[in-house]
Amino acid sequence: MVGYVQMYKPEMKMREYEQYRGVYCSLCKCIGKRYGLPLRMALSYDLTFLALLSMAMHKECVGFTSSRCSYNPLKKCLQCQQTAALETAADITALMLYYRLEDHIRDEGFFGRLTARLYMPIAKHYRRKAQRYLPQADVWFAEMSAAQCAIEAADTCSLDAAAEPFAQLLERLLGNLTDDPKQQQVAQRLGYCLGRYVYLADAAADMEQDGKTGSFNPFVKSCSLNVGDRQALQNCRAYTAEVLRHCQAECIAAFNLLELHRFEGVLRNVLQEGISHTVDTLSQPKEEKRKKSV
């Protein structure tokens, strides 16, 4: 469920792009240092967003310095000195990997399950480590996973009910970024709506596939979708775009009330242009997808 919370580079200022890349590269190094090389494969823009948001909500200076990429020593990159936010994002990366693999083992086909089982031993090891750093977060992930199973077993038609567990998880994770009660309320609302968006975007991306295989998909259920009917599929895609934009609007309404010390432009690009671009891409038929922009 990663890859739906990204920047939109064409509308970003160069300065903001450098900051974004700086945090992304710093997160990569932090994961490598804290967990080891293999978990670096699970590096995502989504957790970069979380790290950026955490840094933006705290007063301490991020302190970018010049450094070099671990994979490509010829490439320069920025390195953050303030590591608390990066460490939390690294821990959540480890937890997310473990619970995603668990989900794959339950839901995917033969080869999907096989691949997930191959990675499971190392993911378990990372999860145990992350559990020591963030015990509460691991409990939240476990609760989300159990609630998700219950929803899928109940085979509900309600989009809202289906999105609730993941939305609640992100509500808790983002609420944990601050101690100020008013800002916590705002961060929780942002977390809820962002989690809802991510879950439903993932469902929208898998809609056609799940319609064919009969796997649980809240959009297939709520639209009573017959994937063979092109018009129905197109209508359902238009509906998914509306649903996702509604989530986006609520995210932005909450984001506008956050008190940020830095990175507002970067974060706004992700929530506005970034999400809009993702929604546009998801709502297009596969055969008409535009060429990737810059």
Partner: protein, 199 residues
């Protein structure tokens, strides 16, 4: 509430013109207007922000000795049989309000019931169910502006994503063309000619 620099609140410099101050105020008011946060769980925080912006604008206008103060009035829903539930919703007591609403028998559920249930669902973040309830409320009572405004705001968010893209720089609109022609006419007249006879 601590006193912030009113110019900093509006994001303008103290040397900004009255028109610039007004434009900045309008932009912020559009963002934090209570209509954008109707039934949103963060509405009280948005209201605080809106109050801060209004006070800043009033302070600047008073300091510049214009004497006009602007403000807004939140529409009053008036008396209703669900006054206590409305109070709970306004106080973010979502679970209590939902419990009371669910206690109303199905046959007695009127347009206001559907609107308030929709509001509770919206506060919870259950946007699709909220939309469906607002739709039903508007269908049952098409002339009610409170329900219609809430529904229209939701529909707008579903189409726009809740933000206005930054204006693209460059390009030329009608105002630019007229301004350009008037400037050209002035220069021409200074040189002894007359580009546009009637200006």
């Amino acid at each position: 509430m601590s006193m912030h620099d009113p110019y900093a609140v509006l994001g303008v410099s103290p040397q900004a013109t009255d028109a610039e101050v007004k434009a900045a105020y309008r932009e912020l008011a559009r963002k934090y207007h209570p209509d954008n946060y109707v039934n949103n769980p963060l509405s009280d925080l948005a209201q605080e922000k809106m109050q801060e912006i209004n006070e800043a604008y009033d302070t600047i206008v008073r300091m510049r000795q214009n004497g006009n103060s602007t403000g807004y009035n939140r529409g009053n829903a008036g008396s209703s049989q669900y006054a206590d539930i409305r109070n709970m919703i306004a106080a973010n007591r979502v679970s209590d309000a939902e419990m009371l609403l669910d206690g109303v028998p199905a046959a007695a559920r009127n347009a206001e019931w559907f609107f308030l249930k929709g509001s509770v669902l919206y506060k919870k973040g259950w946007l699709e169910d909220a939309l469906s309830h607002y739709n039903t409320a508007c269908r049952m009572d098409p002339t009610n502006m409170e329900y219609r405004t809430a529904l229209n705001h939701m529909m707008q968010n579903r189409h726009t994503g809740g933000y206005r893209p930054a204006h693209t720089s460059g390009g030329c609109d009608g105002c630019d063309m007229c301004t350009g022609l008037i400037c050209a006419d002035c220069c021409c007249e200074c040189a002894g000619g007359d580009l546009i006879r009637c200006c």
